[in-house]
Symmetry: C2
Amino acid sequence: MRWAIVLAGGVGSRFWPLSTAARPKQLLPLAGARPLVVDSVARLLGVVPAERVLLVTSRALQAALQEALADVPRANVLAEPFAASTAPALAWATARALSLDGSATVLSVHADWTVADPAAFRSAAAAALDLAEREGAVVTVGARATRPEIGYGYIVPGEPLAAGRARRIRRFVEKPAAAEAERLIASGALWNTGMFAWTARRFREEIERRTPELASALPALDRGDVDAFYRGVRPISVDVGLFERTSAGAVVAGDFGWDDVGSWAALPRVRATDAAGNVAVGAVHAVDTKDCVVWSEEGPTVLDGVADLVVVRSRGLVLVTTRERALHLKELLARLPPDVAGDGTAGAEGR
Amino acid sequence: MRWAIVLAGGVGSRFWPLSTAARPKQLLPLAGARPLVVDSVARLLGVVPAERVLLVTSRALQAALQEALADVPRANVLAEPFAASTAPALAWATARALSLDGSATVLSVHADWTVADPAAFRSAAAAALDLAEREGAVVTVGARATRPEIGYGYIVPGEPLAAGRARRIRRFVEKPAAAEAERLIASGALWNTGMFAWTARRFREEIERRTPELASALPALDRGDVDAFYRGVRPISVDVGLFERTSAGAVVAGDFGWDDVGSWAALPRVRATDAAGNVAVGAVHAVDTKDCVVWSEEGPTVLDGVADLVVVRSRGLVLVTTRERALHLKELLARLPPDVAGDGTAGAEGR
């Protein structure tokens, strides 16, 4: 049967001051009325039922996720003892699926994306799962690149692998310069979304062969000792620990309006804007103002005659920065006193 | 004896959202630790004693001013039944001085100015009072113009009137265009501060002869019926109602760092700035930020990578505008919903 794994452990600082360690990006209603993670799980229904959605998160977020996702069995929300990048998280959740279902096939996604076209998303997911089941491939879904984003990884597809849209993977390019990103896109490269599919058995074989950072700890996982598994692994991403090493990789192209909502500056891509290009959430009054992102939780915020700003009012704090600088909030937080930056500096981005 | 009148009735909106009808500009510590009106009265001491300082304000502000000015007798804070521009206010206060002191000479100032050089201010004030007493002139003090301000009135001095720095007044120019302001300054024109001096007797004679808008109501003032006086006058400024009509006018030039603190954009002229030209009051954290004015009363405000902004956080409101647009806050307030603009739109600027 088909299963989905939702990685939901991120604790990033990119939505400071709104986000906190206790309420990170995936628990915020950044793209609409519901937290991103709720939309992410809803989007999977139709590919898999809610009972076969597993989430991997931190102990700090487990209860909040169980609360937010009423349709998902509470036992499906797995809490890591500590974060160790994506490969251990996916290995644990894949093993969990396999322990419940000897023929499990797995689709993995992140909790904090937005998708403009959920039907196209489900079509790409089904194609990836088909390919994993039919060919025994470990599959990554590449999203059509719509701009030369320098913060993303790119997948260069190779020769066609089967009927339909699957190809082999020629190579991965991580965070290229803008000119290289333009060349990559022109040559047909796709964004590396982090959306994967595999059969649980094939994934286990691949990890055992390709990923020594995890392999020796798998017996701990087999006997159900998750703490020992995490103590036994070296943190590594599944991109590096598996996809860059395997010969069984394949990529399925998808065009479903994928966005990782990487910063405040991304909101105009994923939320409705007014006629002047502003995103306004809360009691915002924007006069002669254009292309701003304003999030006001604690009373009215008035913008007058400004452009290209990000203004956030949350948790007793006010942030005024530019859309450009909002891409680098972590650098700002490092320069603020700890009592102002708060736990915004506490963690990595979770990918 | 010498008296001072401080006009303290203004209810302007230029410092919205900090200022309110109940706490207008003159009651705000805009230039330092104390409200502007407290500094304005302190600056007069040495010219006149506190017992001979009279204030004219509104009934709404009377108690707050009595509270703020512990050294001034409470009875010296006069409350107008309603605002009627400067001539009636000065006529009332001058009549009050005359009723207590048959040889009263009066210096009048506004409550909401800043002065960089109080000693030079007192010297100019003394020169104006000397001239009023010696020559029977009605005297205006012109401040040296240091920039081609288009929001001010200018005085073009005429021939020398006596020894020292007094001249006749050739003409007044109200709010010239920038090019004309430059020409005026080059030709020796001074800013019309609204600082005046006269003997109480001479002022009464002048009003009776030149100012029909007030003259017929003077008997009501003489019998102590202030309400009847105000009902009987037509609102008019002393500039128009007296100085532009009299042949007894004179101007004394002063160079004492006068500023009327006309908007948020004025604060860098009257408060200390950091190395990047920012004025920061309250819990402000400015990173890679220059030439901004930030007033934060309710928790931390973080500015990152911005320039030339005015950011104000007060009374549950946040305002983000530019220094240029801060000159025209009244236009903004007219475009905001009444529940946001509040009483910021209620009144005129009080000059």
